[in-house]
């Protein structure tokens, strides 16, 4: 097992820059998700780490070993592809045994290790099935078993859950996390699904147009986004344009269209955006940042009540309340949010 280090890696396809000077470290035993919209370069990054692509600039290390120009078969990497890429002409057992056989291990050892790993992913009894005779979830577990059985230095997962139905996807998130912890293997996990990234990741790396935006644990990404784009991409967010007036009691005072609000952040002066998550807005209980608005839209989401509230200064806030707190369109609504739940980001970007 080893850490993965990308140092200033650039990858171009013709005139298109897919990855621009990416520096990213995945710690030993850590699960890092690469999150971003489609076309942001996350799969390219994974393929660079796997050795399917060679970067034009920069170096890639596994631990202390420079693997930048090492062909994939010498990298000892386990990969699970989005479509699983199982060998259709081999049975489950043959698929899993492949990596051990090409390593020239004795038959007895291959057999016992295949049996062991199939036990761990709960596929015992399906050894002699062909991939097309398996369900999507089973194919997924074969792919995992095939990647893990070779004791890889690092595990790479490319949208491994994208082809499963919603229910199974939810289950498999926890299963993959459990498996990764059990093996303690350094893992790079590519996804465009932020919920998946939240559940799975020790840290999330956000990628946009081949440029790294922020790397942090899920909670920090959600609560302390570094830019408007990050705040917008992960979860829902209200943005209030404003101007920093100063500091008071450790909080920033920002002048916004709905009045002066207290919030957290690192900015000291100038124009900023105040980010307030819809669920941070709650019925007024006499707190710090208080607003009155009129309910315009009301949508029942089951576990949440989604409201659009028209506020002074032409600001429309998205508010999510628990359904026990009802509000009807046309009714006035008194709201507040805590200073620690309002986060300031730079206005640009």
């Amino acid at each position: 097992m080893a850490s993965i280090q990308l140092e200033g890696v650039t990858k171009r396809f013709g005139p298109v820059v897919a990855i621009h000077r990416l520096t990213l470290h995945v710690q030993e035993g850590e699960l890092l998700t690469l999150l971003g919209p489609s076309g942001c370069g996350k799969t390219t990054t994974l393929r660079l780490v796997a050795g399917f692509l060679i970067p034009e600039e920069g170096r890639i290390h596994f631990g202390t070993l420079d693997v930048t120009h090492l062909p994939p078969e010498h990298r000892n990497v386990g990969i699970v592809f989005q479509n699983y890429a199982l060998f259709p002409h081999m049975t489950v057992a043959q698929n899993v045994a492949f990596g051990l056989e090409v390593r020239g291990l004795p038959n007895a050892e291959v057999r016992s290790r295949v049996g062991e790993i199939l036990e761990r992913v709960q596929l015992r009894g399906l050894e002699h099935r062909y991939p097309h005779q398996l369900s999507g979830g089973q194919q997924q577990r074969v792919a995992l078993a095939r990647a893990l059985v070779i004791n890889p230095q690092v595990l790479l997962l490319d949208e491994p859950l994208a082809n499963l139905d919603a229910k199974l996807r939810e289950e498999m998130r926890f299963y993959i996390r459990h498996l990764q912890r059990e093996f303690g293997i350094t893992t790079l996990y590519v996804t465009h699904d932020q919920a998946e990234a939240m559940v799975l990741a020790d840290r999330i790396a956000l990628l946009r147009d081949g440029i790294l935006q922020q790397v942090a644990p899920p909670e920090e990404i959600y609560r302390r986004p570094q830019s408007r784009w990050v705040a917008d991409f992960v979860g829902l967010c209200n943005f209030l344009p404003g101007r920093v007036l100063g500091r008071e009691d450790g909080f920033l005072l920002v002048d916004t269209p709905i009045g002066v609000v207290r919030c957290s952040g690192t900015a000291d002066a100038g124009r900023v955006l105040v980010c307030v998550r819809p669920e941070s807005l709650r019925p007024d209980a006499g707190g710090t940042n208080r607003i009155v608005g009129v309910v315009r839209e009301r949508t029942f989401l089951g576990n949440l009540l989604d409201l659009q509230v028209a506020c002074p200064g032409g600001v429309v806030l998205r508010v999510q309340l628990t359904p026990t707190q009802d509000a009807r369109p046309g009714e006035p609504l008194h709201l507040e949010f805590r200073p620690q739940d309002a986060w300031v980001v730079p206005e640009d970007g």
């Binding site: 796997a50 994939p72 386990g78 592809f81 060998f87 259709p88 990596g99 095939r146």
Partner: protein, 297 residues
């Protein structure tokens, strides 16, 4: 409640018109085959059991004489053997030469792909006769190759009117069929499958033999079958490039029908060729199905 909802749903005004039944779709081609293929074939089977006649195609006297003559004479066995051997060798050579080409076609991208396909298919635009004459210009005693050899003082090579000439002609004509079949199968292989093999530690060479080659077998098998059957029944190429030195069954059959005007015997030879081809293909398909067990059915 559920039922009320069910009832409230509006009836579709007109049922979606389904495709015509399969029988109707098969009819035109089926009719054509019955009239121009099945009826003549049945007639040939009948003829092969009848007797030769003077001044008529056959006499209505039932006999096994024609078949006994074929099976009893080693001359015919040798011709049959040569026919199958030539077809088999043509198949193997088109595969050996065609596979790398098919790989290049399947992996080509951008403008190279249509260009390669055009180069591959261009020879098919010229009929077998014209192409064979083209080969004669190259391979003949006073042909281009021998002129060059003579000019270099290397004497002369027998390139035509022997097995070599026929093989060159057959391989050339049937190569595109093999390439197209194999390229089609290669294109079906998802690239990630090969990458998966590489990541699991297999070298490019090993990846080819363990993954790419077995996954291309459906194309190899169908291409081989196509080329084999075509080569088995080839007539123009053997006669033009082999002369009378490379006697194969189709030549013998045509001679029997047109020159000797012995229709019953010619029919019997055709039936023997057909029957043996069926046996070979049956065994081949059985072996093929065993090798391709993994394909979902």
């Amino acid at each position: 409640m559920a039922r009320a909802v069910e009832l409230a749903r509006p009836e579709p005004r007109r049922p979606v018109r389904s495709a015509p039944p399969a029988v109707l779709l098969l009819l035109p081609a089926g009719l054509f085959l019955v009239v121009f293929f099945l009826v003549p074939y049945v007639n040939m089977v009948r003829m092969s059991f009848l007797t030769k006649a003077q001044g008529a195609a056959f006499a209505n006297v039932v006999t096994l004489e024609n078949y006994l003559r074929i099976f009893g004479d080693t001359f015919y066995w040798r011709v049959i053997g040569r026919t199958f051997w030539l077809a088999g060798l043509t198949t193997v050579l088109t595969l050996v030469l065609g596979y790398p080409l098919a790989y290049a076609v399947a992996r080509a991208s951008g403008p190279r792909r249509p260009l390669l396909l055009m180069l591959l298919l261009a020879p098919l635009l010229v009929g077998a006769v014209v192409r064979s004459y083209g080969w004669m210009i190259l391979l003949g005693r006073v042909g281009l190759i021998n002129q060059v050899l003579r000019a270099l003082g290397r004497g002369e090579a027998e390139l035509m009117y022997n097995i070599l000439g026929v093989l060159i002609g057959l391989v050339h004509v049937y190569l595109p069929f093999m390439v197209l079949a194999v390229a089609g199968a290669l294109e079906q292989i998802p690239p990630d499958v090969e990458l998966a093999a590489r990541s699991l530690g297999a070298s490019p060479w090993r990846t080819f033999w363990r993954v790419t080659w077995p996954l291309s077998l459906p194309g190899v098998f169908s291409g081989a079958m196509l080329v084999f059957v075509l080569a088995l029944s080839a007539y123009v190429i053997p006669i033009l490039l082999g002369g009378n030195n490379v006697l194969v069954m189709p030549m013998l059959i045509v001679q029997m029908l047109l020159d000797a005007f012995n229709w019953p015997f010619g029919s019997a030879m055709a039936m023997v060729l057909f029957g043996l081809a069926c046996v070979v293909l049956w065994a081949y398909v059985k072996a093929m199905n065993r090798a391709l067990r993994w394909i979902p059915r």
